[in-house]
């Protein structure tokens, strides 16, 4: 990864403001003209019969890849700016002395906007516990942070529409709140490794939160370079597989396997989804194509949530601070929440 591209050392403020203002109209123009442009390109290609399987798959791929990447770039940029207002230190201060239930709600919401990487899960966990954040509240944060992220939301919005994106965010929050609350009620403090409580942390660094806005914009660009640079390949591969399913798998093929009538499809999806670890960017285009071929919404939601929300690497990392029973409780409670969501949506739709 070439991190040098954006580190244009002392930037003049003017330039920092001018760049996004210049790029935004370009973005809008590309976004608006993408569909006709792709249609024109596909029709001009030799051997592309309108309505044939291959044509549809190619059209899907050529349209969805740039569309999703455009949305991703814009949203990641904006989220990068928003996140510059929410440091983990600040979140910890907010959650410090909260009572459980409001704490769970607040922690889940903050989990969405606070910058989080599963590799920082352990220092964050310890930092929270140290500051007196209740364990259940900490878990609400740890569940919401990976599950509801801008990448998942952009892909859901781009490929499914805003209703599904909202549905995902809403049910994800609900799971984070209740699962954290339940874990809190289970009195699991004894399953936290003893050394965690023994640590006397240093004062650390007080981050300078009075950041000038120009610096926050740079922060936005930095997130774009960081995140889009990392996930673009997943997007391309995911959409390519999705396009293949879209064009070549027969209608209703998935109905018998992941359809509503197959009651066992929800637990199976969760069982497969939990150990499976993928980026939201890779899994959502595939899942979208499955939905189109007759899989039911509840099953698809459950699969998506267990892949994105419960990740194997994160569990392994958390093992450093949590004893085994608590790891199982954590995975078990969240998986149960996901199961319920899956069944409820299969029932409603």
């Amino acid at each position: 990864m070439n991190t040098r591209a954006w580190s244009f050392a002392p930037v003049s403020e003017k330039r920092t403001y001018a760049l996004p203002l210049l790029l935004l109209p370009v973005w809008v123009v590309i976004y608006v003209f993408l569909q006709p442009a792709v249609d024109a390109v596909v029709h001009s290609l030799p051997g592309m019969m309108p309505g044939s399987m291959l044509t549809e798959a190619v059209r899907f791929f050529l349209y969805e890849v740039p569309k999703v990447l455009l949305l991703l770039t814009l949203i990641v940029f904006l989220v990068g700016i928003v996140r510059s207002y929410f440091s983990p230190e600040r979140t910890r201060r907010i959650l410090g002395k909260r009572s459980t239930f409001t704490g769970n709600i607040l922690a889940s919401l903050l989990g969405v906007v606070t910058p989080f990487c599963s590799c920082s899960a352990v220092p964050l966990f310890i930092g929270f516990v140290e500051a007196g954040v209740p364990l259940g509240v900490t878990f609400s944060f740890l569940i919401a942070a990976p599950m509801i992220n801008e990448i998942a939301l952009v892909l859901l919005f781009g490929l499914f529409g805003w209703k599904t994106a909202l549905l995902y965010a809403g049910t994800g929050l609900l799971i984070a709140i209740t699962a954290g609350y339940v874990i809190g009620r289970l009195k699991v403090e004894r399953f936290v490794e003893d050394w965690v409580y023994a640590i006397r942390p240093g004062s650390g660094m007080v981050p300078d939160e009075a950041m000038p806005f120009a610096q926050r914009i740079e922060h936005g660009f930095e997130s774009v370079r960081d995140i889009v640079g990392k996930v673009w390949l997943y997007v391309v591969v995911g959409i390519a597989v999705g396009a293949g399913i879209h064009g070549f798998v027969p209608e209703n093929f998935m109905a018998s396997i992941m359809g509503k009538s197959a009651w066992w499809s929800v637990p199976i999806s969760v069982l497969i989804g939990v150990p499976l670890y993928s980026n939201a960017a890779g899994i959502i285009p595939i899942v979208q194509a499955l939905l189109e071929k007759g899989a039911s919404l509840g099953t698809v939601l459950a699969f998506m949530m267990s892949v994105i929300g419960l990740s194997f690497p994160e569990t392994i990392i958390l093992k450093k601070v949590l004893k085994l029973p608590l790891i199982f409780i954590f995975v078990g409670v969240v998986a149960t929440g996901i199961l319920i969501v899956g069944y409820v949506f299969n029932f409603i739709y």
Binding site: M1, E89, G127, G202
Partner: protein, 81 residues
């Protein structure tokens, strides 16, 4: 007498942690600085500095940055002390 400057990179296997360590080593090499570099990957040690996001950059026991890979010019200024 000149005391050697000690730079510590705190982090466990995240990609930014590796980048930061590489960057620091590269800077020290190109500028031929008299600096000890240490990678700290034990959580118990890391938490002594009270940071909540990795990587952390510590120069002579003082936390300089968390969660980011600072720019080269900034890094150099800190390392030179």
């Amino acid at each position: 007498m000149e005391t050697r400057i000690k730079v510590q990179v705190l982090g466990v296997g995240c990609s930014k942690c590796k980048t930061l360590e590489e960057r620091v080593r590269q800077l020290v090499a190109t500028h031929q600085l008299n600096v000890d570099i240490e990678k700290v990957s034990d959580f118990k040690e890391i938490m002594k500095y009270g940071i909540m996001t990795t990587p952390g950059l510590v120069v002579n026991g003082v936390v300089k940055s968390v969660g980011i890979v600072p720019k080269d010019s900034q890094l150099l200024q800190w390392i030179k002390g």
